[in-house]
Amino acid sequence: MTDRAQHRPQIGGIRSSFAPWEDPAARPLVRFDGVSKAFGDTVAVTGVDLSIYEGEFFALLGPSGCGKTTLMRMLAGFETPDGGRLMLEGRDIQADPPHRRPVHMMFQAYALFPHLSVAQNIAFGLRRQGLPKAQIAARVEEMLALVKLEGLGKRRPDQLSGGQKQRVALARAIAPRPRILLLDEPMAALDKKLREETQFELMTLQQTLGMTFMIVTHDQDEAMVVADRIAVMREGRIAQVGRPAEVYETPVDRYVAGFIGDVNLFEGKVAATNGPILRLQSDDGVFDAEGAAAVGDHVWLAVRPEKIAVYPEAPGGPRNLLAGKILDYGYLGDWTTYLVEIAPGRTIRAARANATRVVDRPLGCGDPVWLSFAPSSAVVLTK
C-alpha cells in the first residue's frame, strides 16, 4: 500500500504506475456482471459490466438521470438488481442487506443525523461494530484530525457550514473502514473554489488511506481531476471505461466525445484509405485522418479545439486546411478560444495557448483565419 502511494503523484489523471485493470491476474474488488434495474417502465440501469479494483479511485460520469445513483445504490444494497450479478471480493453479495455490506456511502445531501453531535455522527458506524469505547473515541479524534475538524466534535450538524458538513459525512463514512467508499455527487452542494480544494483533499485522503473510492458525478472536470478511471454512462449503459486521458483522447463514440470536453465533428464518407490514413469526403471539405474504417463507411472525425491550429495568414503546407472568419473569441488568460465560421451557419471551435506575451497582430472578430489539424489529432468515430 505505502510503496504504491509513494509512486503515485497527486494528479489523478497522470498516475501511470497504478493500473491493476491491465493486469489479467488482478482480481477486481467489485464486479458488476450484466446488472440491470428498472423502476416500473423506467429503465435506470441495463446490462452494466464493470470491474473496480482495490485502491482505485473510480468515477461514474454521466448526465443527470442516466442511472449513476441507481448503480451505486445497488452496490450499497438499497436497490435490488432485476438481473445480473454483483460481486464483492469474488463473493455474490446480492442477498446481503445494506447493514451487512462492508460498503459505505456518502449521501448526496450528507444525511447527517441531526440529533447527534459531530463526534456521535462519526462514532455511529464504529459503535455498530461493537468496538470498545476508548478505541471509538480515539478513532473519532483521528477522523476529526483527518478531515481537519479538530475541536468541532461537540457541535451539532446544524451549527456547521456546508463544507464542514461534507467533511463530517466523509469522516462518518470512512471511520468504520469500508472496503469501498461510495460518494454520490459529494461536491455538488459546494461552491466552485471549495469544490476544487475538496477534490484535491479527497485524492490525498484516498491515497493516505489506500481505500477504494467510487464517486458519482455529472461534472466531467471533476471526474477528470480525481479519478484513476472514468466510466461514462448513457441512459443506463456504460458507454466507455478508461483513464481520463483515454476517454478524452480516444472516445469511442460521438456521445463520449461530446460529453467530455468540447469537440468539433466532421461528418462524411470514407473516400479512400492509404495504410493507417483514411480520406474523408465531407461537406466541410476533404480531410485526412488516422483511423480504421473501410471505403464507403459513414464516419465522423472528432477533433478537440486545442488540436486545431489557428493561422492569421494562409499557411503553405499543412493538410486539413479550412478557411473562415472569426465570429467570436474568448480570452481566458492562458488560452484564447475562437469560434470560427467556415461556411454560413457552420462554426468550428479552436483554442490557442497564449505562449508569448506580445502578440504582433491580435486576432479579432471578423478577421479571416486559417485552421488546420494533423491527421493524428483526429479520432475516427463510427457511431
Partner: protein, 261 residues
C-alpha cells in the same frame, strides 16, 4: 406606512377569544366560589377543592380516567406510529385500503363506534369494565395518532434511515436510533392528543364501560343531571390545569428544539 389593527380586527379577536374561553374562565372563577349556588358569587374559597378531595367516588373516577387515558394513549400512539410507518414507508399493495380503513374512524359517528364496540365485547363475552374502555379509547384515538405521526414521517428525510443502515443498523435499529428521535415531538404530540381525547370522551365510555370503571366524564354527566355541584367546577378546573400544563410543556419542548437548531 403601518396602520394599527382596525376596530374590526380588535372586535373579532376579542369576540373570538370570548367565545372560546368565556365558559372556561367562568368555570374556573366559580370553582373558587364560597357559595353553594352556582350563579351567585359568595366570595373566594377553596372549600370545593377540599370537598372534592373527600369525595371518594369523584376521586375514583379521576383515577380511572387517568389510567384509561395513559394506557389507551400509549397503546394508540404505539399502534398509530407503526401504522404511520407502514403507510409512509411500506411499498405494499393495499396501502390505500389500510389508510382508508384507519381514517374512516375519524369520521365515524362516536355513537356508532361505541355501539359497535359494545356489540363486539358482548359477542366476545368480555366483561365490560376498565379494559374494555381502555381498548375502546385506543380504537377511538388510533386514527388521530396515526395522522399526526404520519404527517411528520412523510417529511422525514429517508436518507437518514438509509445512512443508519449503511453504517450497520438493521432496519428496526435504524428506526429506533434515527427515525424515532427525529419524529419524537410528533409522537409526543400524538400521545397528548390521544390522552386528551380519552380524557373527555363520554359517548364511547358510556357504551363500553361497566361497573367499577366509571370515568370522570361519566360521573360528571350523571351528577350534573342531579344539579350542578360546585365540586364539578373544582374537578374541571384541575383537569383544565392538567391539560394546559401538558400542552404548554409540549409547546416549550418544541420551542427548545427549534431554538437549538
Amino acid at each position: 406606512m403601518k396602520r394599527g389593527p382596525s376596530a374590526f380586527n380588535i372586535a373579532s379577536v376579542v369576540l373570538g377569544l370570548a367565545f372560546l374561553y368565556a365558559p372556561i374562565v367562568i368555570l374556573v372563577i366559580y370553582s373558587f366560589n364560597a357559595s353553594r349556588l352556582v350563579t351567585v358569587w359568595g366570595g373566594f374559597s377553596t372549600r370545593w377543592y377540599t370537598a372534592l378531595f373527600q369525595d371518594a367516588q369523584m376521586l375514583d373516577a379521576v383515577w380511572v380516567t387517568l389510567r384509561v387515558g395513559v394506557l389507551s394513549a400509549t397503546l394508540a400512539t404505539v399502534l398509530g406510529t407503526l401504522a404511520a410507518v407502514a403507510l409512509v414507508r411500506g411499498g405494499f399493495r393495499g396501502r390505500t385500503a389500510l389508510a382508508g380503513g384507519i381514517y374512516a374512524t375519524l369520521v365515524m359517528p362516536e355513537v356508532i363506534l361505541g355501539l359497535s364496540l359494545l356489540l363486539l365485547f358482548v359477542a366476545a363475552g368480555l366483561p365490560r369494565g376498565f379494559w374494555t374502555v381502555t381498548l375502546s379509547h385506543a380504537t377511538l384515538t388510533l386514527a388521530y395518532a396515526t395522522v399526526v405521526v404520519q404527517a411528520r414521517l412523510a417529511t422525514f428525510d429517508r436518507h437518514l434511515e438509509e445512512a443508519a443502515q449503511d453504517l450497520g443498523c438493521p432496519p428496526w435499529k435504524a428506526f429506533a436510533l434515527v427515525t424515532l428521535p427525529g419524529i419524537a415531538p410528533a409522537v409526543a404530540a400524538a400521545w397528548m392528543l390521544a390522552f386528551t381525547l380519552s380524557l373527555d370522551d363520554l359517548v364511547i365510555a358510556s357504551f363500553t364501560s361497566g361497573p367499577g370503571a366509571t370515568t370522570l366524564p361519566m360521573r360528571l354527566y350523571s351528577q350534573v343531571r342531579l344539579g350542578v355541584d360546585p365540586k364539578i367546577n373544582a374537578v374541571s378546573t384541575l383537569l383544565i390545569g392538567l391539560v394546559a400544563t401538558g400542552v404548554i410543556a409540549a409547546y416549550l419542548v418544541q420551542q427548545r428544539r427549534r431554538s437549538t437548531r
